[in-house]
């Protein structure tokens, strides 16, 4: 069984649903939210249709250069998104975040290919782009939470941090409590999602597979694989992002640099 096509008219009717929240926003005077939503929907439609066309081409062509370029572009885009969303200085933080995403994704994809999804070719776009994109998208959320919280907490409690250094703590000893708090904040949503999965909600990937005609048992196997991978990649990319950025975020005396924030909070 394959997923059935949604006709154009049905898609338009689906978008008609947006009239309900738009009407509520209009009634309560949230005019800016209406324009923001409309812009977001137009962007989503344009981006997804463009991606669908490109993916269709890549899936049929199996062009190695294109596949590699696509995944690298995703990493570059994810890195700049993280740094901008953390309100950090893009020039300083882009490279360490990029390195953390690249290493984490590389490790996870190689591991999955070698031990879990052995039937896929490593450069199969269904594996590299689809699985890689899903992992990257989820680790992006974790890294934004973790990295922003790490630097925001340090800025907020900077005097306490300096006092810790004065008590004899090395730079690493002084930042460890902040790393712990940030990592915990970064992965807690994923842990909560894993714990409530199947009871509170049926996850998107599983829903897609079942609607696409897969056996629910197989859909569950893929879902478990994805959730574990998301958790690992989220934790690793956040931890590496923080560790790689530490040398850049602090002076050689261990003091937080004052130019690390982008200033657009």
């Amino acid at each position: 069984m394959e997923a059935s096509d949604i006709p154009l008219l049905s898609m338009v009717l689906c978008l008609f649903l947006l009239i309900v929240p738009m009407a509520i926003c209009y009634a309560v005077g949230l005019r800016s939210l209406i324009s923001d939503t409309l812009l977001a929907v137009v962007r989503m439609l344009g981006q997804l249709y463009l991606v669908a066309l490109l993916l269709k081409y890549i899936f049929t062509s199996h062009n190695l250069t294109l596949i590699t370029a696509w995944i690298l572009l995703m990493i570059v885009f994810a890195s700049s998104t993280v740094v901008n969303n953390c309100n950090l200085n893009l020039k300083l933080f882009f490279a360490p975040v990029l390195a953390s995403f690249f290493l984490t994704l590389f490790f996870l994809l190689v591991y999955l290919r070698l031990f879990v999804l052995q039937e896929y070719d490593f450069f199969d776009p269904r594996f590299l782009i689809v699985i890689g994109g899903m992992l990257l998208g989820n680790s992006l959320r974790c890294t934004v939470i973790g990295l922003s919280q790490f630097y925001a907490n340090l800025k907020k409690s900077h005097r306490q941090y300096l006092y810790t250094l004065s008590l004899g703590a090395t730079h690493m000893e002084a930042v460890i409590p902040h790393i712990k708090t940030s990592l915990s904040a970064a992965v807690r949503p994923t842990i909560a999602t894993m714990a409530s999965m199947g009871i509170v909600f049926i996850p998107g990937m599983m829903t897609g597979q079942i609607l696409g005609g897969s056996n629910p048992i197989i859909a569950i196997q893929y879902q478990v694989m994805i959730m574990v991978s998301i958790f690992v990649v989220g934790l690793l990319s956040t931890a590496l992002g923080i560790l790689f950025s530490i040398k850049i975020g602090f002076t050689p005396y261990g003091i937080l640099r004052d130019n690390i924030f982008s200033g657009k909070e």
Binding site: L162, Y163, P252, Y253
Partner: protein
């Protein structure tokens, strides 16, 4: 022991110190006073490298402060900050954490000594179990002073250490630190208990500290 050699310090584009020099000998007690914004706290922070100098140098025990020596210099200094930035859940966990730092691994968590210091600074024993957020400003200040003494260092940088204490405790704390001849003390204070002590040398910082 501590030398400021022609230092220049700027903060937010303003010059706080320009060609400022000061020599502090071993065992000397310097009480820094002056108007707000004259760089008193910054001057203390320069010694353990917690604030940067634009030019000139700071030396502690003939060691020039730089990125390579900063950690070793910090290990010689006990610093009590103005805002009393003690951290952790309880007083006990704060004191415990200090002893987990590699630099303090040679020290023993001596409960008897802590008890003696608590008695000396008139802190009740039950305070050890109290949450830090529940302490008064004066209690926090005295816990920070206990921590400073427990580190067994010989240079004390105290930023308004008695600002939240009553006259009786101000006197007690001031004489505790000023009477120990082996300790070198730099304290910022406007309290007469520090300023009028015969062992203290008062350094009054002007609006801008230029060469001294």
């Amino acid at each position: 022991m501590i030398n400021f050699n022609s230092i220049r310090v700027t903060f937010n584009g303003l010059s706080l110190f320009d060609n400022f020099s000061l020599r502090i000998g071993k065992g000397q007690k310097i009480i820094i006073t002056g108007k707000s914004g004259t760089g008193k706290s910054t001057l203390l922070k320069l010694i353990p490298g917690l604030a940067p100098v634009s030019s000139g140098s700071v030396t502690v025990d003939s060691t020039v402060l730089c990125r390579k020596t900063v950690h070793d210099i910090r290990k010689k200094i006990s610093y009590v900050s103005q805002g009393v930035d003690i951290f952790g859940d309880t007083v006990q966990s704060f004191l415990n954490r200090i002893f987990t730092f590699k630099a303090n691994s040679h020290l023993k968590f001596d409960t008897e000594k802590i008890k003696d210091l608590f008695d000396c600074f008139e802190l009740p024993d039950v305070l050890m179990k109290r949450n830090i957020d529940d302490l008064s400003g004066g209690e926090k200040q005295r816990v920070a002073l206990v921590a400073a003494v427990l580190l067994e260092r010989h240079i004390f940088l105290l930023d308004e250490p008695t600002a939240s204490l009553d006259v009786h405790l101000k006197q007690k704390v001031a004489s505790y630190f000023l009477s120990n001849q082996g300790w070198t003390v730099l304290a910022i204070s406007h309290d007469r208990e520090w300023l009028h002590d015969p062992s203290a040398t008062v350094l009054k910082l002007g609006e801008h500290a230029h060469g001294s």
